[in-house]
Every structure is written in C-alpha cells, then in structure tokens.
C-alpha cells in the first residue's frame, strides 16, 4: 500500500488499520495522535479505521512549544 506518512511517501504491506500501521512503524499507540487526510482520528478508532491506498496520514507526538 502506498501512503504519505508525515509528508514522506512510503510503501507498507500487510496493514489494514491505523493500529496496524502504528505497530508496523514502531510507534507507542498512547504517545501519538493521528489525522488521516486533514481529519482527526481518535485513539478509540485505530483498530476499526481502514486505511486507503494513497492516504495522507499525520502522526504527531508531544514536543516543546512556545
């Protein structure tokens, strides 16, 4: 499956849901927030949300801010 993850094109196989994607990439599920396209997807939906080919996904983590 071709995806754009945090602005980078990636090919990732054998995934179906956001939960699959986060596990595949090595993220801790509790330490990220996710948006698909420009829409927020809550943590409670990671296991149900089916990722579509070509989708743009933002995976964000806490960072220092002003």
């Amino acid at each position: 499956m071709q995806l754009v993850i945090n602005g980078e094109e990636k090919t990732i196989e054998d995934i179906d849901t956001i939960k699959d994607l986060l596990v595949n990439l090595g993220y801790e599920i509790d330490s990220v927030a996710v948006a698909c396209g420009d829409t927020f997807v809550s943590r409670s939906k990671y296991a149900q949300y089916k990722i579509k080919n070509g989708e743009q996904i933002e995976i964000l983590q806490p960072m220092q801010g002003g």
């Binding site: 993220y27 927030a33 948006a35 829409t39 927020f40 995976i59 964000l60 806490p62 801010g65």
Partner: protein, 263 residues
Amino acid sequence: MWQLAGKSLNSRLLCGTALFPSPQIMRQSIIASRAEVVTVSLRRQTPSKNGGSSFWDFIKSLNVHVLPNTAGCRTSKEAITVAQMARELFNTNWIKLEVTGDDYTLQPDPFALVDAAKALITDGFEVFPYTTSDLIVAQKLVDVGCKIVMPWAAPIGSGQGIIDPRALQTLRTRLPNTTLIVDAGIGKPSHATQVMEMGFDAVLLTSAIALTNDPENMARAFAGAIESGRLGFESGFMPERNMASPSTPTIGTPFWHKEAISK
C-alpha cells in the same frame, strides 16, 4: 490567587517550553518562574527517537497545567485538527490557538482565527487565541465565545516590547471582562511590568527567558516583574501632574524665602 479557565492560579506568568539550552535548564527555569501553566506543541517525530513520550513524561513531572498550541497551522481546518489531536494527546480541552497568516511577521490570520475559535468552542474547547492588538479582531473572538484573548506586544520572538501601547490599553479598556494575556514580543522584565501595570491579567513568555545567558535567573526576574506590575495596578497609581509638588512639608521650612526661584 486568580482564575484562568476554571483553574485557581497564584502565578500570572505562563511559560513556554521551547528554545531552552537543555531539558534540565528548562525545568529549573520553569520552577524559578513559579509558572503553573506551560505551553507545549505537537510535531512529526520518528518513532525510534521516542522523544515525544519522554518529553511528555518530563512535563508531567512538573505538575503544571499544559496549554498545547497549534503553532505552524495556516488554515482554520489545520488548526482545528491539531487542536483535536492535542486534546487527546495531552488530555486537556485547553488550546492556544495560532493560525499564521504571514511567515515573516508570524502575524495571525484574523479571519481563520475567528473561524477556528468558533468551531473549537462549539466542540468544547477552552480557546486561548493568539492575536494582534487589533480591537475588532479581539471583539470578534469574544463574540464567538472566547473568554480569554492573547494579544501580542510585538511579533513572536522579537523581544521588542510594546510596539503599540495605545492599542493594548484600548483592548484592556474596551474588554474589561475578558481575560487578557499578553503573549508575544516581550523581551525584558520591564516590558512585562509595563503590561501588568496596564491591567493585563497575565503574560506568556518563552524566548525572553529561554534565549538569555541565564534562563533560570531571568525566569526569576520575570516572576518578580510580573508580580510587581500586578501589585502596582491593583494599588492604583497616583495622578500625574504637570507641575512639581513637594513631598516634604513646607511648613517650618528653614531659611524660608517668600519669593519663588525663577531663572
């Protein structure tokens, strides 16, 4: 003690967490500032760095309220999405709403800002909008439900101090029931004292503390400056006079002269 979005706070200094030379200096500076609210953000990070969770654990250990921001967002939709992500990640409905309209000045886009504020308030957020000192934009933010407005003193990170004191004073006068926090452009403790003397409710600082030779001591200096300005405001200032008026009693003045000195 004062109230900010339902929380009782002692300090009127809100402190950023960015730009410090090290996490340890950031921690020491936040403690020295006596800030009870710190700002944070969300960014893309690679999973191997694990930076996000360790930073978040670090902030949680400070036992302060967190105010996530939407820094870098350029549209209302982006800001709304980042706010929703922040709410889940930081477990708070507070959001420092930033929608950049110009990359050179980092001046907010007032139209997108108001649109996003309206949508986020409807969605249950406590919105802290970062804006300029424009009165009408601030009034529109209040009209859509913002109880807090955060005008700049000068552009973010410029350290210029109050570039338009009349505009800030007008905001304070025209919005007496809105919590007003000066958010950007402060460079020196005296700038912070000045805005607190105007009657602003609090000051949010990052660069003015983090980018100094001694952030911990500067944090301490700002804490004192903000407290001094507030105490001065609450005490009421003496009326200004055009002429001098002696403070020492004139009755019993030695070597009394009847005629005024006039040269």
